[in-house]
């Protein structure tokens, strides 16, 4: 019995993640109402109240929209942005880092200098100025996060590649006539993918927070699309009169990022026992 409870405790982060993914994928079917449907007579109703045809399980916002429905739809934005930006920046950064370490010479110098430059601009500021230039939208947020976060992966992939590139089996593969691409993809990549995925799990949680931060500042997904960061931003204006508007999206963000970080820790322990 105790054991079952302990197992359940250990797996709750994954359960939360699964729940968030389910909410994101099946949002239109799971949400009790249309997230953008307004009900001006039922504005800022506390949780558990009813107004006209609405039953606000978790309350309503300043336009009478159902907060539960908006929170479920908000999971979509968070997960799509985090997933897409991690995949894009991870691929770009890993590729550049590997090539820099494998080719050396001027390619190495240019790539690693550019990495230094990117890492010396505070990421939030770089993201803010770029979104402000490109204009806020879902796609632009993803692109900006991908373009500002790749150096993290590049640095890790570079270091890891340097440490395996001189291994006898890599040299042997080269001697046997394997081309650069084959060596990079078949012999080096499998050896560095663990370290890169450790970075990716850390970044995933951060990207959820970045998206919410940009939306909070009005630089993310545009209204009326439901995003937790934007919901928090409006909720801030009603913090003294309607506490539930800001509390719910913040809680969703907190629990999801906590679950991602805990899962990330577990992944790290599995992949790299030295970091434990």
């Amino acid at each position: 019995m105790m054991r079952a409870a302990k197992t359940a405790l250990r797996w709750w982060p994954l359960a939360i993640l699964a729940l968030a993914v389910l909410a994101a994928v099946f949002a239109p079917w799971l949400a009790p109402y249309d997230p953008n449907q307004q009900n001006l007579l039922g504005r800022l109703r506390p949780p558990g109240t009813t107004s006209r045809s609405f039953h606000y399980l978790l309350g309503s916002d300043e336009l009478g929209r159902d907060l539960l429905s908006r929170a479920i739809h908000g999971a979509r934005v968070s997960l799509v942005v985090a997933f897409a930006s991690v995949v894009l920046s991870g691929t770009l950064g890993t590729a550049l880092g590997m090539i820099a370490a494998y080719r050396r010479g001027w390619i190495e110098m240019i790539v690693m200098r550019v990495v230094d430059v990117f890492l010396s601009i505070p990421a939030v500021l770089l993201a803010i100025i770029t979104v402000a230039v490109l204009g806020p939208s879902l796609l632009n947020v993803i692109l900006v996060l991908a373009l500002t976060r790749w150096p993290r992966y590049a640095r890790v992939a570079y270091g890891q590649t340097l440490s395996v590139v001189n291994m006898p089996y890599v040299k042997l593969a080269a001697l046997m006539g394997a081309g650069a691409w084959r060596i990079l993809l078949r012999h080096i990549l499998p050896n560095i993918v663990g370290a890169v995925s450790v970075v990716a799990t850390l970044e995933f949680g951060l990207m959820i927070l970045f998206e919410a931060g940009l939306s909070f500042l009005g630089l993310g997904v545009q209204p009326p699309t439901a995003s937790w960061g934007a919901m928090l931003s409006t909720g801030r204006n009603y913090v003294s009169t309607a506490w539930w508007v800001a509390t719910l999206p913040g809680f969703c963000l907190f629990v999801l990022v906590l679950a991602v970080n805990l899962t990330g820790d577990a992944v790290r322990d599995r992949l790299d026992p030295r970091l434990r």
Binding site: V124, I128, V239, A246
Partner: protein
């Protein structure tokens, strides 16, 4: 030592040049930066006039050189909306952000480092387990949510602290805690890792076996060695705090650089945004340089001549 310093300075210079170049081109991602500066109601004549006034009609390379020359004179341009030099605006807001960052750093180090020590030296205690939970929560808590929650609890419900703006010490408490929490988690993690690392070394084991007490052990034997990774993190965290101030200042209506940046974005006053971003990057490069130099002060074994 001078050789290293010069080389390291040169590196910092190259990085700064790269940063400036990146910022210059980011603003031209959509082609003509004039459109970033004009309100949506501007007529074509207005746009053309502004383009000529700001020199955006000249060849890109000329604009770039001009941009560099202005920066060398510490000229960040003029706010298009307020018609005031950007450096003046930054200078007037800077003290508030510095105050906030200092407060946050006090929170981050003051809570984070003791928690890290606790997690390393007394890890089996109940208190340490509670602290570990606190660190994990702080790491996952968006600053804007913790800020709003604090306003809800301490201003709205309890009425203990003012919800926003400046005035006295009490106004600084909540923004500092909100901004410092994330860094607190980082300091705690790094302190713990560094101490555990040092504890596993021979000198620490010898000291233990000689019967050196925990307090003396910590302050006389471990502190100096374990502080090296902390210096690197502190340098990174200070620049993170400056960036995090953008959101915290918005939550608490704190009149610092972050708030002025967000207002500038909404007002399409790009020169200010550019100025703040450049400043943030300069500070980061400078702090990294400083932390490299500090290493040798803390640990004489790191000879700067040989360091890279």
């Amino acid at each position: 030592m001078p050789g290293f310093l010069l080389r390291r300075l040169g590196q910092a210079g190259v990085t700064i040049l790269g940063v400036v170049t990146l910022i210059f081109f980011v603003q031209r991602l959509t082609g003509d930066p004039t459109y970033l500066l004009v309100p949506e109601t501007a007529t074509q004549a207005d746009i053309d006039a502004l383009r000529t006034a700001l020199g955006f009609d000249r060849p890109l390379f000329v604009q770039y050189l001009d941009f560099l020359a202005e920066l060398l004179r510490f000229d960040l341009g003029q706010s298009v909306v307020q018609r005031v030099p950007v450096t003046t605006i930054i200078a007037s807001r800077m003290p508030y952000t510095l105050m906030l960052a200092a407060g946050a750093l006090v929170v981050a180090c003051g809570i984070g480092i003791p928690i890290g020590v606790l997690l390393a030296l007394y890890r089996e205690t109940l208190l340490a387990k509670f602290a570990a939970g606190l660190v994990l929560s702080a790491q996952s808590m968006p600053t804007f949510w913790s800020g709003i929650l604090m306003i809800l609890v301490f201003s709205v419900l309890l009425g203990w602290l003012p919800p926003s703006s400046t005035g006295g010490f009490s106004n600084l408490i909540m923004p500092s805690v909100a901004l410092g929490l994330l860094s607190m988690a980082t300091f705690a993690r790094i302190t713990r890792a560094a101490l555990l690392d040092e504890l596993s070394k021979d000198y620490a084991r010898t000291a233990r076996s000689r019967g050196v007490g925990t307090g003396r052990m910590l302050f006389r034997h471990l502190a100096r060695n374990a502080s090296i990774p902390l210096i690197t993190v502190a340098a990174l965290e200070i620049s993170n705090l400056l960036a995090g101030a953008v959101i915290v200042e918005t939550v608490f209506a704190w009149p610092g650089l972050g708030q002025v940046t967000v207002q500038a974005i909404l007002a399409r006053d790009f020169m200010i945004v550019q100025g703040v971003v450049l400043l943030g990057a300069f500070v980061t490069v400078f702090l990294n340089l400083l932390s490299d130099i500090l290493y040798s002060v803390v640990d004489p074994r790191i000879v700067l001549e040989k360091a890279r």
